[in-house]
Structures are given as C-alpha cells and as structure tokens.
Symmetry: C2
Subunit: 198 residues, 2 copies
C-alpha cells in the first residue's frame, strides 16, 4: 500500500546505501565464506560502526540471508531459461552445466556457488540453514523442469544434476578455470546423449 522505499523519513539520515552494502557483504561472503567473515570485516568494508550495522541488518546471519537472496537474483543460474520446456532434456542439462561452469568462475577470487558452498555449513547453524533452504528450492525447480520430460526418473536425474553442480562448484573453488569446468560439464552431459542413460 504505502511506499516501501523510505522517502522523506524522519530522523538522522543514513550515511550509507543499504542495497550497496548488501552487495559488498555478498562479495565478502562469496570470497571467504560465512565463518571467515567477521563483523569487524563487514563494518570495516562498509565503513560503518556496529550499531549502524545492527540497526540496518539485525544480525550477521540476517545480512547473510539478504546476500544469499541477492546472489540468487543477480548471479544465480537462470533455471527457468536454461531448462525451458521446449528444450530437449539432454540439451537443457548441457546448457545448465555450461552456464554453471561459466558462473562459478566469473569472479576469480569468489569462485564456486555462494549457495552450494554456504549450504555445506560451518560453525553457524542458522546461516547454514538459510543457504540450505535456497539450495533445496533450486533443487525443486530443477526437479519440476525434469519431471516434464522424464517423469519416471525425475528424482534420479535430479540427484545427478545437483551432484554435478556441487562438483563444478567444488572444482571451481579448487582453482579450475572456466575451460576445464566446461569440459567437466560436457562429460557430465554425455550420460544423456546417446542411449538415454538406460
């Protein structure tokens, strides 16, 4: 109903841009992982003090959640496009693996998938759950797209596809470049080429 963007708000104005700050936090979390980014790192990067941080974001885990959502929107794989219904399954999955290979190496010092790596958990259980939720949501989208073309083996193929994506993300973190990652993706999609994977 009312304007969601804060305009003409009372009180002392913010000295930093919140959305921009979420972007910086996203980059930091992607580079080092949730645990390795301290609050001092964040407030330092944003050039603000802890009270401003907590007034704006609530907690470190909450900011992580916003960074995850921003990542999914801006850098995450576009499953709907890659797995569009008119595409044959083998072609769609090959395109998905190739897009992942490119996306996971797009930033040289922030490789891999923020969601996949975040879902693997560390010290903070609630932060890990936020990533796991997004990962499960991605899985569901993939499964739905596969079910249209191979309803009987949808779960089995989905398991395989998500494992390949996780393997690509891990390999990207290992230092493999886009070319080698794309080769992995091509090999992985061979399973669906000739014989329909029995």
């Amino acid at each position: 109903m009312t304007n969601t963007k804060k305009v003409n708000s009372r009180g002392r104005p913010r000295t930093f841009d919140v959305d921009e700050a979420v972007g910086k936090a996203q980059a930091l979390f992607h580079q080092r992982g949730y645990d390795a980014v301290s609050l001092a790192d964040l407030t330092g990067a944003l050039a603000i003090n802890p009270p401003s941080f907590y007034a704006a974001f609530g907690s470190k885990a909450d900011l992580y959640g916003r960074a995850l959502e921003r990542y999914a929107k801006t850098e995450g794989l576009d499953f709907d496009r890659l797995l569009a219904p008119e595409r044959p399954l083998n072609e769609a999955l090959a395109a998905l693996f190739d897009a992942a290979a490119v996306a996971y190496t797009a930033h040289p010092e922030a490789t891999g998938c923020l969601v996949i790596e975040g879902a693997r958990g560390g010290t903070d259980a609630v932060a890990c759950d936020k990533a796991k939720t997004l990962w499960r949501r991605s899985r569901q989208v993939v499964r739905d797209a596969i079910a249209d073309r191979a309803a009987d083996r949808a779960d089995e193929i989905t398991d395989y596809v998500m494992a390949i994506l996780a393997g690509l993300s891990a390999s990207a973190r290992d230092g493999l470049g886009a070319a080698r990652l794309r080769a992995i993706g091509r090999t992985a999609s061979l399973a669906f080429m000739s014989d329909k994977a029995r």
Copy 2:
C-alpha cells in the same frame, strides 16, 4: 633404528591412548568439520585437560593433520586397488564411484569425505592446507592411473573424476543415502561406456 614406540619411558605415564584419541578426534572432525570442533570439545571427548592435549598433539591443527592421515589410511578410498592397471578404464571408474558412494555414507552422522570437505576450508588456513595437500595427492594418484590407459586425455578425465567425487561427497552431506549416491555414480560413469566420451 631405535624403537619408535615409547616403551619403558620415564616420567609419569599417560592416562589415555594417543592413537585412540586420534581416532576420536577424526570422528569429531568428520561429523562437524574442523571449525565447529572446539578445543573444549576435544578435551571433553578425550577426558583430558588442555596441557595434556598440547603435550601430546602440539596444536589443534596438528591433531587435525594426524586425523586426516588416519582417515586416508583407514577409511579413504583404495585407489590402487580400484584403479588397478588390469582393469578397463570405464570399469575402474565405475568401481571408484561406487566405492565412494558406499564410503561417503558409511557413517550416518559423519557423511562425505573428510579430506574433500576439509579442503573446502573455513576459518583456519593451515588446517585447510593440510586437507588440500591430501586432496592433491589423491588427484595425482588418480591421474597416474588414468594416464596409463588414456594418456592424451588424462587431465580432462581426472578433472571429471575429482569433480564427481566432490559431488558425491556433497550429496552425501546433503543427506542422500547409499542407494541414491550409487545411482549418481552409475550415471556419472555412463560417460565412459559406449562412445569413449568422444
């Protein structure tokens, strides 16, 4: 030359078995990951006090290194057997993936590969390096075995194999059981079945 096992040593005797303690630490690290296991967790599980811990193991990271080596010896994949030279490549890789699927789900609450998950790093860089070293060593063993049968594409195939192993470990951590992991492994080995992966 001299006896490596401490026998008839002077001084007050230890009240705990060091090798056994490494095993308990290995289990803890495997369940929760390096960062999530505190020194208090370790000393609590071993029923010893911090000074005994440091006298025996040097540091948390050093104990982690010993736990990694123990894991590689006792629970790690037997690459030499699985990739034995007389086996055809496709059969060897299928066996490797299947063995990984079983190994990574062998302990219900310590899933995945300790080395792979540890190499993905967290807060402690030196601990991460210890895991990365073992992971690279495994990669070299795999590459050598592949090079015997497909010298030209050894690097490419090795990239793929290590990515599959990482994907299997991640999927195991995701909660997938042995059966679903084995299905992933079977699909992954299809790439080498009919057409020699062009």
